[in-house]
């Protein structure tokens, strides 16, 4: 376990956003966090990224408690991409991606060749080389999202935490991002923690699924194991059936919509 949350509880005023959350992550694995709106996915990701301090419990990265990490060192080890982040609108794609090198540079240090290579690699991986000089304002939603992912990639951290990176994207771009994530884990050994709404995408991409409901972790295990529990139907209050044409394929939940 390189990253581990133990018994983490976080409240916002009287509302308990996360209640006794425990989950650990191994190198190169992809874990999808799913759950209804307001179930605590974002809060859990913020705690794992060291952005929100738990009142109870602890988050440990590489054997050290999160609050002992310096921001700069943490950013070299772990990158986090929030939902719908704001960027100054006069920035170009490449300028945004270059910000990912912030933690690697001293105040007077110029861009070294390793920094340029990281930026180049991030742009290539997200298919943005052609758009590098384009202003962020001029991009489509999908392109902008890819630019943000590229900025997170340029950090070259071993752990990538993504909060709903595929929301607001058309299906083609959603698949593109999911494929990028599996490639990162397979080829670079990056650990990915991703909050995602599409259950089938979650089951298709993840080694492990964590299901949250009202701030509590109600299931943790493989997609195949999840499909036998019936928890998806009860948690999301839907009816459907699992389809699995081949044992090698990920389970697929076909939801029934009444009309």
């Amino acid at each position: 376990m390189i990253l581990k949350a133990t018994n983490v509880s976080i409240r916002y005023g009287a509302h308990c956003a996360l209640d006794g959350f425990s989950l650990g992550f191994s190198p190169a694995e992809i874990v999808a966090l799913i759950g209804p709106n307001g179930s605590g996915k974002s809060t859990a990701l913020h705690a794992l990224a060291g952005l929100t301090r738990p009142e109870v419990g602890e988050v440990v990265l590489d054997g050290r408690e999160m609050r002992q990490w310096k921001r700069r060192n943490l950013a070299k080890r772990l990158s986090f991409l929030p939902q719908a982040p704001y960027a100054p609108d006069d920035m170009s794609v490449e300028q945004l991606v270059r910000q990912g090198r912030f933690a690697h540079l001293g105040p007077f240090q110029g861009f070294r060749s390793e920094d340029r290579m990281a930026v180049q690699w991030a742009l290539e991986s997200t298919g943005l080389e052609e758009l590098a000089d384009r202003g962020l304002k001029e991009l489509s939603g999908g392109e902008r999202q890819r630019a943000w992912i590229a900025a997170a990639l340029a950090q070259e951290s071993g752990i990538l935490i993504l909060d709903e990176p595929t929301s607001f994207l058309d299906i083609g771009h959603q698949v593109e991002i999911l494929e990028l994530i599996s490639r990162l884990s397979r080829e670079r050994g990056v650990t990915v923690v991703i909050a995602i709404h599409d259950l089938n995408h979650a089951m298709a991409i993840a080694d492990r699924i964590a299901l949250l409901s009202a701030g509590r972790l109600v299931f943790e295990g493989s997609p195949a194991a999840l499909s036998t529990t019936g928890l998806l139907e009860t948690t999301f209050n839907v009816k459907g059936k699992f389809i699995r044409s081949d044992a090698a394929d990920a389970p697929y939940l076909q939801i029934r919509v009444q009309r």
Partner: protein
């Protein structure tokens, strides 16, 4: 493929026009004035062998006045740039932290006490301890800025709360100052009004010396902070995930802005629009070369104030038009033009 870093050549070229303009303004400001001196006399003063009269006009009156304008203009403009960046609010300027209003109130109170405390009448204005004004105003502005900062930092840093507390505190202090001035009445409040509209009238070497430590402190701090300033333009979560110690750097940049603004307000009064317009103009001219924004802001801020002062001196002759009036009158159309270009 380029990597967005402007080469030093590009940096230099973008600065040529503004630097030429400011040099021209500087020369004009030295050579033109209410007292008409022949150019030959002025050159003699600059060469160190001018007549006593010319020495007085140029060395004791004009040059310190111009230097004060250059420094104060740069202070206002850079403070505005920093505040706009870290509050992510394009309308931010030194008034948004209540700095100008705090300085105004302390100046008003100080003059009230000075006038009544010394038992002087309206005709002895010149015996007032006016040399204390910069220090008093600067302290008032600084204190207000720190109060607003404290309110925003309680519990958890919030940029929105910083802006809202700044506006609320600023409005309250402004109302108090206006109430005092209205209640005070009499001819003495003229001096407060004069201070309020911002002026370089009778600014001397003392004022230059007062501003310089702040200029030097910022000149050391800002290059060290330049990457953090770019990073502070993002939201807190994003900046922190990129590796910025957000609270620390936010505080350092805010403190720098506060010192620059308060010292400038202290010496020349609240010059509205300089801190607001100049950063926008600099962004407009720099485009995506972010490295250019800060140098352009410095040069344009200094030029705007020097130019406005020169215009005020020449247009009004002996009855100088207050510089704040000129900066507001010229600044507003520039801002409107930039807004049109943006949309």
């Amino acid at each position: 493929m380029t990597f967005g870093t402007p080469t030093s050549g590009r940096l230099g070229r973008g600065l040529v026009a503004p630097l030429t303009l400011s040099a021209a303004l500087l020369i004009a400001a030295v050579f033109l004035g209410v007292v008409d001196l022949p150019a030959a006399d002025i050159l003699a003063v600059l060469a160190g062998r001018g007549s006593d009269d010319a020495d007085l006009v140029i060395g004791t009156i004009r040059i310190p006045r111009i230097l004060t304008g250059i420094l104060a203009g740069a202070h206002f403009a850079v403070a505005g740039l920093l505040l706009q960046a870290i509050t992510r609010n394009p309308l931010a300027d030194p008034t948004i932290l209540g700095i100008s209003q705090g300085a105004t109130l302390t100046v008003t109170i100080f003059l009230l006490f000075a006038v009544y405390g010394s038992g002087a009448d309206a005709h002895t204005l010149y015996s007032l301890p006016l040399h204390w004004l910069p220090l008093v105003a600067c302290a008032g502005g600084m204190l207000t800025g720190l109060l607003v900062y404290y309110l925003a930092m309680r519990n958890r840093l919030s940029v929105l709360r910083l802006t809202l507390s700044g506006i609320a505190i600023g409005a309250t202090l402004h109302a108090l100052a206006m109430g005092l001035i209205a209640g005070w009445g009499s001819s003495r409040f003229e001096i407060v009004m004069q201070w309020l509209s911002g002026s370089l009238y009778a600014r001397s070497w003392e004022h230059v010396v007062f501003l310089l430590p702040f200029t030097f402190a910022a000149a050391v701090a800002l290059p060290l902070l330049h990457r953090s300033i770019d990073m502070l333009r993002f939201e807190e979560d994003v900046a922190r995930s990129f590796g910025l110690s957000y609270r620390l750097h936010f505080s350092l940049v805010l403190l720098t802005a506060c010192g620059l603004a308060a010292s400038a307000v202290g010496t020349v009064g609240p010059l509205i629009f300089v801190g607001l317009v100049v950063p926008h103009l600099a962004h407009f001219l720099a485009g995506r070369s972010f490295g250019m924004v800060m140098p352009l802001t410095v040069v344009l801020g200094a030029s705007l104030v020097t130019g406005a002062d020169l215009a005020g001196r020449l247009l009004g002759q002996a009855e100088e038009i207050p510089i704040g009036v000129i900066t507001a009158l010229t600044g507003a159309p520039v801002l409107l033009f930039l807004l049109r270009r943006r949309s």
